[in-house]
Amino acid sequence: MGIVAYARKHAAFLAFSAVAMCAPLFIGNKYYLSILAFTATRLMVALGLNLLMGQAGQVSLGHAAFVAIGAYGSAVMTTRWSVNPWLAMLVAALLAAGVAAILGVPTLKLRGHYLAMATLGFGEIVFILLVQLKGLTLGTDGISGIPSLTIGSLDFGRPRAYHWLAWGVALLMLRMSLNLVDSRVGRSLRALDRAEIAALSLGVNTSFRKVQVFVVSAVFASVAGSFYVHYIHYISPDSFSVTFSVVLVTTVVLGGLGNVWGAVWGSIFMLFLPEYLKRFNQDYTNLVFGLMLIVVMIFLPGGLVGLRHVPARLRRRFTPPDALPAEDT
């Protein structure tokens, strides 16, 4: 593909990447940079969850646990065993993949929401282990002194450098997810969700594909967790309660499940809205998220990405029928 053809095909992705990567040039405030950094790691998790829920129609209520595997994996290995951070990130991701496979193989063979149940329990178990395995995790005290990521003399501890690294990875994952949706594997995921028996009759190994996308979503979450701890340098179990899993599901549902971009808008929305609400009262945040979720479920089943269809729908609703163009009636 030529450069021009590529640019035209991926215009939205390129425009969004340009905005994301140029943001630190115009934002000096460290606090705002940190919100953008958290948006990048949230996006990594949301993309995997969007593929799992939106494409394959499977629900995970324990994704916080996979973020925890990445976060604690990196924290423990780097601070206590002096493992190279990049190697630690890789090992943690492999661990997350293995655990996801063990959870997914028995539950995804069955019809129904067994994965949701299993992941809910799994999330609870991981949270308890983080608190109780004090020898490894230091319990509720948490682990501090987690080093920054470096490549040679490049130190990703500085906010701008970290921004470029984390957003670079998040954008890569976004590109990968967009590619997947428009591929043999992506189509098979939608097919198995919409009509499993038809997908089977066309040769799709549906249980394998379901486990595979679940494993991918676990790896994305783990990598996000690793990036997160190398940025804030401290981790404790509080961050990984079941509430966080629900927040993650909220992120992708609010953004919209039918489209990978839903993960992007959901992540931006969920990290910037609280900043806005803080001006009034901290307690409003959860209330507003809850209300938003209900409003979106009822009025905007396509999520925030579905908003782009709203002007057309409103125009149609408020146009007298005889003024409609022929093909619309």
């Binding site: 593909m1 990968m176 590619n179 997947l180 591929s183 043999r184 594997v185 992506g186 189509r187 098979s188 939608r190 097919a191 919409r194 009509a195 028996i197 038809a198 997908a199 089977l200 009759s201 066309l202 040769g203 799709v204 190994n205 549906t206 595979q212 991918v216 039918g258």
Partner: protein, 254 residues
């Protein structure tokens, strides 16, 4: 040449015998019809042949393969395609994407080449697109390629299922009530399409209630009633078979 042998197949659903020791042979290149009143077990038999369910007893041999030993997605790889009585199109995917799923088992692209859109993946995608479009042309749905499958009228959905199945390049095609809901013109066109598919070397087993259609295109007919085979033979013979007439009249009076 026999291509598929159904041997003493029974299927039991918790006390209900949906199929009772059914046997018949499907020969290469023929159009065979499977008829019988509602609830006779026709769709159940299709589920067994297409591998999504297994017989309680008996065997179905496709060439040398015992279909009862396959995993649920493996029949397609052997060359068995099917359509569904109750529409199973992928509603929120485009018509073309529906047919592209039919190319799944002929494709190679795994998760990595899909993620990174590698060159071999892009080449494969181009071929998938072309072949899928060809399959749409064969059933006459190419003008609707970009529409959402869920927006198609009932008759077109069945054509889409046929195109999707043709995209797998089947050697045997199972059609479950393809003429349901079609008007006379559409039924005639469907008969032409079925003959065309047969002429391209595909063996066809079809379930249909439209007797004109069945008698018109089939070489042989198998009649099921309450899970039992009550007759088998050429259409003319079946039309005059007393037991068949009784089964159908009984059904009408009930």
């Amino acid at each position: 040449m026999p291509i598929m042998r159904v041997e003493d197949v029974s299927k039991n659903f918790g006390g209900l015998d949906a199929l009772k020791r059914v046997s018949f042979t499907l020969y290469e290149g023929q159009v065979k019809a499977l008829i019988g009143p509602n609830g006779a077990g026709k769709t159940t038999l299709f589920n067994l042949i297409s591998g999504v369910d297994r017989p309680t007893a008996g065997h179905i041999y496709f060439r040398d393969h015992d279909l009862g030993t396959l995993r649920r997605h493996e029949a397609a790889g052997l060359g068995i395609g099917r359509t569904f009585q109750h529409s199973k199109v992928f509603d929120d995917m485009t018509v073309l994407d529906n047919v592209k799923v039919g190319r799944y088992q002929r494709g190679r692209a795994g998760i990595f080449s899909s993620f990174f859109s590698l060159r071999r993946h892009r080449n494969e995608e181009r071929q998938v697109r072309e072949t899928a479009f060809e399959a749409l042309k064969r059933v006459g749905l190419e003008a609707q390629a970009g529409e959402l499958a869920g927006n198609l009228p009932m008759g077109d959905r069945h054509l889409l299922e046929i195109a999707r199945s043709l995209a797998t390049e089947p050697t045997v095609l199972l059609l479950d009530e393809p003429a349901a809901g079609l008007n006379n013109d559409e039924t005639d066109r469907l008969a032409d399409l079925v003959r065309q598919i047969r002429d391209n070397g595909v063996t066809i087993l079809l379930v249909e209630h439209d007797m004109g259609f069945v008698m018109d295109i089939s070489d042989e007919v198998v009649v099921l009633d309450y899970g039992k085979k009550i007759a088998e033979g050429p259409p003319l013979m079946i039309q005059n078979d007393e037991e068949v007439i009784r089964a159908y009249l009984g059904d009408d009076l009930a």
